[in-house]
């Protein structure tokens, strides 16, 4: 390293160069995320003619032509409905199963607890394509194929690790003393949970539920493999990708991306908490 006393100007140069690099990096990353969203927005809010022409306008013209076309496209609305149903079921199931697991992880000491936490994350290590074929076979055997419930089951499996980890960090943030106080004041373990713990973690649970919703909403592979008639929006768009006009693709993309973006933005605080815990 250079001597700070004699090389002060050089050090200053290095610092400002580092700062410039940092700013450039931030700008690049922001652009990476924002530019596609920007184009998506422009093209969605333009008439089909503008979408197919060149050059593009810099500001959207707020023409709902593309969106109307999207809404009237055969099967699109039922696909949207399926997406909402599957995501809602995923949300309910992953919280119903994940929250008790998170509670157990934070409150009880049991053998293999650390291993269990690791295994939860490892479920994400299996690539879905690897599981898709056996899953499809099993679903056909049990009659779960091409149903929203069957797909919600798969999506729950995907969302569950996050639900467990987020709720684990939430429960760990509630002092055990509060529960113990409730027990001495006439509560059972269950009523202490509903009267003391639940009200305190409800915002976090909501965030975790929304995250599960988004995971299901964005998922395309399992949806494409496991459904035929009852496609979700992602699978439906994928299926009609090469046959549909440009403005339909943009409108579909917009409808997919925007809710997910808004939801994730709303719950970002809790997602950071989850990573904070997972890094421990």
């Amino acid at each position: 390293m250079t001597n700070v006393a004699t090389d002060a100007p050089a050090a200053k140069d290095t610092r400002s160069a580092g700062r410039a690099l940092y700013v450039a990096g931030v700008v690049l990353l922001c652009a990476w995320v924002l530019v596609p969203i920007y184009f998506l927005t422009i093209n969605t809010l333009s008439s089909p003619e503008t979408v197919n022409s060149f050059p593009k306008p810099f500001f959207p013209e707020f023409d709902l032509g593309s969106l109307t076309f999207f809404a009237n496209f055969a099967g699109m609305l039922s696909a949207l409905k399926n997406s909402v149903i599957v995501a809602a079921m995923t949300m309910v199931m992953s919280i119903a199963i994940g929250a008790p697991a998170g509670y157990a992880l934070s409150r009880f000491d049991f053998r293999g607890k650390e291993l269990f936490r690791l295994l939860i994350l490892l479920t994400r290590a299996f690539p879905l394509p690897l599981l898709a074929l056996p899953l499809a076979v099993m679903f056909i055997q049990t009659g779960l194929d091409d149903t929203t419930f069957g797909l919600a089951l798969v999506h729950t499996t995907l969302a569950l690790p996050f639900a467990v980890l987020i709720t684990f960090s939430l429960f760990s943030g509630i002092p055990l003393e509060l529960e113990e106080a409730a027990w001495t004041l006439g509560c059972t373990r269950f009523t202490a949970f509903t009267k003391v713990v639940l009200p305190l973690i409800l915002p976090g649970i909501t965030a975790s539920a929304i995250f599960a919703f988004v995971i299901s909403w964005n998922e395309v592979f399992a949806a494409a493999v496991l459904t035929i008639e009852n496609r979700t929006l992602t699978a439906f768009l994928l299926q009609s990708l090469d046959t549909s006009p440009l403005h339909l693709k943009f409108a579909g993309g917009f409808i997919l991306v925007v809710p997910a973006l808004i939801f994730i933005f709303a719950v970002r605080k809790y997602l950071f908490a989850m990573w904070g815990i997972a890094n421990r």
Binding site: E177, L178, E180, A181, W183, T184, L185, G186, T191, K195
Partner: protein
């Protein structure tokens, strides 16, 4: 009537023996303090009485009923926690009324009882606030009020004042004592603060390494410690110890002086013990070389060297004492205590 009986209670955490065969009876309406250094098992014992911890072996009886298999809510107890455990999502009113609501008492009864205990604890004006808007001392009051509102047979307190500053602690100490005496409940109070223990307790159970070394009134514990640990743990500054050689016929040689002592059958040496305030400068007595003089206002705390051992004396502040001087300290004969260095127990 709620007498607490603890019979042969032992607790193991894995291989670690936290409590060894505890036997203790706490009388109805008695204020019992469990006193000891951290890790001595006092909180574990309290939690076993409460039901938040289960004893590995032994029985807990409250009011003539065996309770060790019951959930905390069925034991007729209320607990005040060290960190107050005031529910952050409820107002002070709903916190105090929480247990009453769980008992499904009618609204007007809840209101009556909450307002009564809030008055006792001087927090009537805080009833609409949330815990986040309260100071530590106020939270402490809410926690005590919540326990009192249950009108329990037994109230259990786990270092309830340890998170308060010194002045507030002194104020709460006196207030708690008054309120609890009035409520006529049996109280078990855990603390590591001997001043708290001495000033509040009807009886103190001094605990050490998972055992109760002595359970007696504060004055008894102070004057007649049952073991060396009690003598050195209680009292500030603690009791002085000097080795004593048996000179036969009930006489003992302490730092070159011959003192009257117990007649033991053997020739084993004993420990001579005396409280710092139980000594007077005199012509005859223990030769003490003064090391440090600390004026404390009412008294002088004089640290000296007697026969090579550290020795403290509390003398009148008018005394002219300087470091390096020699003093002759005469122990008050009826305040001298003797301990067997092998068993560390008191010898009569």
């Amino acid at each position: 009537m709620a007498e607490i009986q603890i019979k042969n209670v032992a607790k193991k955490f894995g291989e670690y023996q936290a409590l060894h065969d505890i036997n203790l009876t706490i009388a109805d309406q008695e204020f019992m303090v469990l006193l000891g250094a951290s890790g001595c098992g006092k909180t574990t014992l309290l939690r076993i009485i409460c039901g938040l911890e289960t004893a590995t072996t032994g029985e807990v009886w409250i009011g003539g009923r065996r309770v060790d298999h019951l959930a905390p809510k069925d034991r007729g107890i209320a607990m005040v926690f060290q960190n107050y455990a005031v529910f952050p999502h409820l107002t002070v009113f709903e916190n105090i009324g929480f247990g009453l609501r769980m008992q499904k008492l009618p609204d007007d009864e809840v209101k009556k009882r909450v307002e009564r205990v809030a008055g006792l604890m001087h927090i009537e004006m805080l009833l609409k606030r949330y815990s986040g808007e309260l100071s530590g001392g106020q939270r402490q009051r809410v926690a005590v009020a919540r326990a009192l509102a249950m009108e329990p047979d037994v109230i259990l307190m786990d270092e309830p004042l340890s998170n308060l500053d010194a002045l507030l602690r002194m104020e709460m100490r006196a207030e708690l004592k008054g309120v609890l005496a009035e409520s006529k409940t049996t109280a078990v109070y855990v603390t590591h603060d001997q001043v708290e223990a001495m000033s509040m307790a009807d009886r103190i159970s001094v605990m050490h390494k998972g055992e109760i070394v002595q359970a007696a009134t504060p004055i008894e514990v102070y004057r007649n410690p049952a073991a060396e640990f009690v003598a050195s743990f209680i009292g500030n500054p603690p009791m002085n110890f000097l080795p004593a050689e048996n000179a036969g016929d009930g006489k003992w040689t302490v730092a070159g002086n011959v003192v009257d002592g117990p007649r033991t059958g053997t020739n084993r040496p004993l420990q001579f013990a005396i409280r710092p305030e139980d000594m007077q400068p005199a012509d005859q007595g223990l030769p003490a070389k003064v090391r440090i003089v600390e004026p404390l206002g009412a008294h002088l705390l004089v640290t000296c060297d007697v026969g090579g051992a550290l020795f403290r004396a509390v003398l009148d502040s008018d005394m002219q004492v300087k470091p390096g001087e020699m003093l002759t300290l005469a122990p008050q004969p009826d305040r001298v205590r003797w301990f067997d260095p092998e068993t560390t127990k008191a010898v009569a």
